[in-house]
């Protein structure tokens, strides 16, 4: 049994990425990773906050670190890379007396230090690991060609994130392989999808996510596996927009990696939330003989 982690879902996981939340929690439960949601957590500020000011961003994230510290947790797990960056940056800043004072000046309850934060991917890879996962697999993903897409900031900058290889990450590859999937050598594992510019500058997402979908299609991938709500939204919800702008149909389902792992672990419908995906995962899943 691994130590209990404070769980910080982040706003998207209550909304557009609810299936990431459900499948992630369910995988952790099966693999013996105990998650306790931080009570009354608030938004970390995401990228708009650090685009405006580092101290503001730090304070928004620090409120949550403070709550987790009060709860006596030794670490935080978050599924969202954007939240992870904010939590990690704030945690580093809180360990510096000068920066801590500036952050605490904005907080009602001061936070007296940082707390280690890890991604859900890192927690699954380090606390459970490919071997334990493989042992728990009941329905191998045999025959499913998956392109693993990590997104740009899950491992960056390496000095702050200190996990996996920042240029050629393999943690998700290893977990998906342990689940029985055929993992393709996706060359754009860490290229940016266009981030949160879908609304204000759609053209940027059309170009960058378009490159990713084209590469996955060219490699003959049945599906993409992602670890970020924003990447998933850009690639899945906007896939029709991208297809129109690039005049190319894709039909590539974009799973959260936890959905695929959950599938292999034999989790049920409610936990997987496959019906929430916009691009129909049916054809890909029929390759598994599960019917989706």
């Amino acid at each position: 049994m691994s130590p209990a982690f404070a769980y910080y879902p982040g706003c998207s996981l209550e909304g557009t990425a609810v299936e990431y939340d459900r499948s992630g929690r369910a995988c952790c439960a099966v693999l013996g990773i105990e998650l306790t949601e931080i009570p009354d957590w608030s938004c970390c500020g995401s990228s708009p906050a650090h685009a405006v000011d580092t101290v503001l961003s730090g304070a928004l994230a620090a409120r949550n670190l403070g709550l987790a510290r009060q709860g006596g947790f030794g670490g935080v797990v978050t599924p969202c890379p954007n939240c992870l960056v904010n939590l990690r940056t704030a945690s580093r800043d809180l360990d510096d007396p000068d920066r801590r004072a500036r952050i605490n000046a904005l907080l009602s309850t001061p936070c007296e230090g940082g707390l280690p934060a890890v991604s859900l991917l890192q927690a699954l890879h380090e606390q459970a690991g490919p071997a334990a996962l493989a042992a728990a697999v009941v329905r191998p993903l045999a025959g499913l060609k998956v392109a693993p897409y990590y997104g740009c900031i899950l491992h960056r900058p390496p000095g702050l994130m200190a996990f996996d290889d920042p240029e050629n990450p393999v943690a998700m590859d290893q977990l998906l392989e342990a689940a029985g999937a055929e993992v393709v050598a996706f060359p754009f594992k860490t290229e940016c999808c266009g981030a949160s510019y879908g609304v204000p500058r759609k053209d940027l997402v059309m170009e960058l996510s378009g490159r990713l979908l084209e590469a996955a299609a060219d490699l003959g991938a049945d599906a993409l596996a992602v670890a970020c709500p924003l990447c998933q939204m850009n690639l899945d919800l906007r896939q029709d927009q991208i297809a129109a702008s690039r005049r190319r149909a894709f039909g590539i389902p974009v799973f959260y990696f936890t959905q695929l792992l959950g599938l292999a672990l034999g989790l049920g419908r409610a936990d997987l939330g496959l019906d929430r995906l916009v691009v129909d995962p049916g054809p890909a899943l029929r390759k598994l003989g599960t019917g989706g």
């Binding site: 706003c11 998207s12 209550e14 909304g15 557009t16 990425a17 609810v18 009354d40 957590w41 608030s42 938004c43 500020g45 995401s46 990228s47 708009p48 906050a49 650090h50 685009a51 405006v52 000011d53 580092t54 101290v55 503001l56 304070a59 928004l60 409120r63 000046a105 904005l106 907080l107 009602s108 309850t109 740009c152 900031i153 960056r156 900058p157 920042p166 240029e167 860490t190 290229e191 940016c192 266009g194 981030a195 949160s196 510019y197 879908g198 609304v199 204000p200 500058r201 759609k202 053209d203 940027l204 170009e207 960058l208 919800l237 906007r238 029709d240 927009q241 019906d275 929430r276 916009v278």
Partner: protein, 185 residues
């Protein structure tokens, strides 16, 4: 193209300000171009990252603060990860964006409007209310966008129709209030 007057146009105070705020030594940049080479947004920039760095070294305050690149940068940190001189380029871009915003530049209006809408939602509810953020953005930008996505998200239970405030929303609001008060001082 005009002659760049290196004797009189270098705002070295500006250079020092950016260096201090970012904690980066700007003289380390030897213009290898790796940041420009790896940046996913170079195609959309008016000034590639390495040119921003160069203009910064020469204290070209206006050029740097008015360029849209510093607003488009999504802080993906590819530049920071690959810089051979360990310069946190993404941090410099971010600091420039902060100064640019403080001083009223907004070459990418919609990006700024989206950020404002997002943060307003966080301030009001403690967490982001996605639909509210969209409505607020539409109101600010007077632009209807992504109307095709609404039904897709709604039918899949991905979009809450009503905001739910967290208990500590006051605390979050105070973070923003204290931040603004600090700025005014």
């Amino acid at each position: 193209m005009t002659v760049l007057d290196l004797t009189h146009s270098c705002d070295m105070q500006f250079v020092a300000e950016v260096a201090r705020e970012s904690g980066q030594n700007l003289t380390l940049c030897y213009q290898c171009g790796n940041c420009t080479a790896g940046c996913p947004f170079t195609f959309a920039y008016d000034l590639p990252a390495s040119s921003v760095m160069r203009a910064l070294q020469w204290g070209q305050r206006e050029t740097v603060l008015a360029c849209s690149s510093i607003w488009i940068c999504a802080t993906c940190k590819t530049c920071t990860t690959r810089c051979p001189n360990n310069i946190d380029v993404a941090r410099i871009m971010e600091v420039l964006r902060h100064i640019s915003r403080r001083e009223g530049y907004a070459p990418e209006k919609q990006i700024k409007q989206f950020q404002d809408s997002f943060l307003q939602s966080v301030m009001r509810h403690g967490r982001v209310f996605e639909l509210g953020t969209m409505m607020s953005f539409i109101a600010r930008s007077r632009r209807l966008a992504d109307m095709d996505l609404g039904p897709k998200a709604l039918t899949r239970g991905k979009l809450a129709l009503r905001a739910r405030d967290i208990h500590g929303r006051d605390e979050v609001e105070k973070i923003f209030r204290r931040y603004r008060e600090g700025l005014e001082k």
